[in-house]
């Protein structure tokens, strides 16, 4: 449990190369491709953070917009008083606290109620923010003026995604990761083996929520003018679910396979056919659920398994070797 496997080293090297290439992009393009890559990085960060929790627990959270908006608002409210990095931290903590409260209230109940509750929560938070903003400030939004530019946002989102991956990898090697694996297999066995299942799930939901809050905070300077409908846009929650499910949530890198094509697709749809985004999302969602219930990566794994069974290698059957 302490040494790195060759598989891990290979993934690490590939990951480092990809990260370096993305980080160099702003030196080659500052227009369309940079902006598209920022969108892709945003959803890469959001989807992996979402999968951190929803992958092992199979709970579908639609609270992404709530955590994201809280991060955005932390920056919007504080940018005139505190340095940006501090506000990112505030956003993370606030989102984690909200996740903790929601988790404590709902993670003991079944998955269906959890979906509905998280959707309702995101809406409630948005309404609360709208209401208090118009009541106390009399304005509809907040200005965020910084010297943070598109490329800085790209680098921050890239760094965030790397941190999410490292966190996921560390969790997998920790007691929490082992607990989640057991819970995913049989929750009754987990409890009777001594695992506080509610606490484990809440902790994971808080970690995931904190990362989503950070993503929201990083994006605040890009919006320049923040309003509840855009910061707490429920589209974010749905897009994250669709992309993560398209890619597959069994592995932490699974969602990336969905994020890249789908962000590009949504980019084309929203610029050419702006009135049809919801239809495309709806169709995509149905198609994924019916055709690819385990996502693209799940499907590929299935095919690989099937190929392996068709041509069994002689050494694969010798079960006497403990390896």
């Amino acid at each position: 449990m302490t040494r790195l496997t060759t598989e891990e080293i290979r993934i690490g090297v590939i990951g480092a190369v990809v990260v370096a290439l993305v980080a160099l992009l702003p030196f080659f393009d500052n227009g369309f491709y940079l902006s598209l890559t920022v969108n892709i990085m945003l959803y890469a960060a959001l989807c992996t953070a979402w999968t951190l929790f929803s992958g092992p627990t199979h709970y579908v959270s639609l609270a992404t917009a709530a955590f994201f908006g809280i991060g955005t608002y932390a920056v919007g409210l504080g940018i005139d008083h505190l340095p940006f990095p501090v506000l990112v931290g505030v956003g993370a903590v606030a989102a984690a606290l909200l996740a903790g409260i929601v988790g404590a209230a709902t993670l003991r109940i079944s998955g269906v109620y959890f979906v509905v509750f998280t959707l309702g929560l995101a809406e409630l938070v948005r309404q609360l923010v709208s209401w208090s903003q118009s009541k106390f400030t009399g304005r509809m939004g907040l200005y965020v003026f910084t010297d943070i530019r598109e490329m800085h946002i790209l680098w921050m989102l890239l760094a965030l995604t790397v941190v999410v991956f490292l966190t996921g990898w560390l969790i997998n090697r920790s007691r929490l990761g082992f607990a989640m694996e057991i819970i995913g297999n049989d929750e009754t066995v987990a409890k009777h083996s001594g695992i506080d299942t509610a606490r484990a799930k809440i902790l994971l939901f808080m970690i995931s929520g904190a990362f989503i809050g950070i993503a929201g905070a990083i994006m605040a300077p890009r919006y320049a003018y923040i309003q509840p409908p855009s910061a707490f846009n429920p589209m974010i929650s749905f897009l994250v679910v669709i992309m993560a499910l398209l890619g597959g949530t069994k592995r932490l890198w699974g969602p990336l396979v969905g994020v890249i094509p789908f962000t590009i697709l949504m980019d084309i749809v929203s610029s050419r056919f702006p009135n049809h985004t919801y239809i495309v999302m709806g169709i995509a969602f149905l198609a994924i659920v019916y055709l690819l219930p385990n996502g693209v990566t799940g499907r590929l794994e299935q095919l690989r398994e099937r190929l392996r069974h068709r041509q069994p290698k002689p050494e694969a059957v010798s079960e006497e070797k403990p390896a």
């Binding site: 082992f178 607990a179 694996e181 049989d186 066995v189 009777h192 083996s193 001594g194 695992i195 403990p322």
Partner: protein, 244 residues
Amino acid sequence: MSTPALTVNAARKQFGGLVAVNDVDFEVREGELLGLIGPNGSGKTTMLNLISGALKPTAGEIRLGAERISGKSPHEIAQKGVARTFQLVRVLPSMSAERNVMAGAVFGHARLWGDEARDVARDLLARVGLEKRAHLPVSALTYIDQKRIELARALASNPKLLLLDEWLAGLNPSELQIGISLIEELGNEGRTIIMVEHVMDAIRALCDRCVVMNTGHKIAEGEVGAVLSDPEVMRAYLGDDEDA
């Protein structure tokens, strides 16, 4: 006399109108192998569920050593030192045999981690005769092997009290012999065990004492031979036939 390992004091569990465990009292002494027997539906599994925290008693008290455990959640009770197997075997299907057993070592009473947990798991797999299958996914194992995994997982937490719910059920005669000698070894090592069992030969061979339940009540308790020849116990098993 020293404090019993487990004290069950007027434990009661009601499901709507049905009283599945009706004010049952008994004690388990340190190092004792206690049999819990009774006809189908008499409340044995429910009694184990009350002890392990899967169900909360409607009334009554259960103490592990001097400490009250009734009302606590299953994970707290497991950490305090109660481990169990399930009547319908429950393994962690996507995980290897070794990781199944490590689950008990890591999160249960012993709370080990890393190599320590792995060593305990390997030792126990060897002990239940599965060392060669340590790296197979347990879904590929036979029924008896899955039962062995469950026992090893429970033992991995080094429990103060081990609850076995019909662990010998469904084994063929030769497997039964292996199973009985395995439990006998545990008893000789001084483990405190409650075993629910329908296999009377096993109860006779293994237990010092037994408790008999019928329709939620405790109807007899004591030395195995005496209890099994008690007319009320024979009536419970054979129906209301007086001459049984």
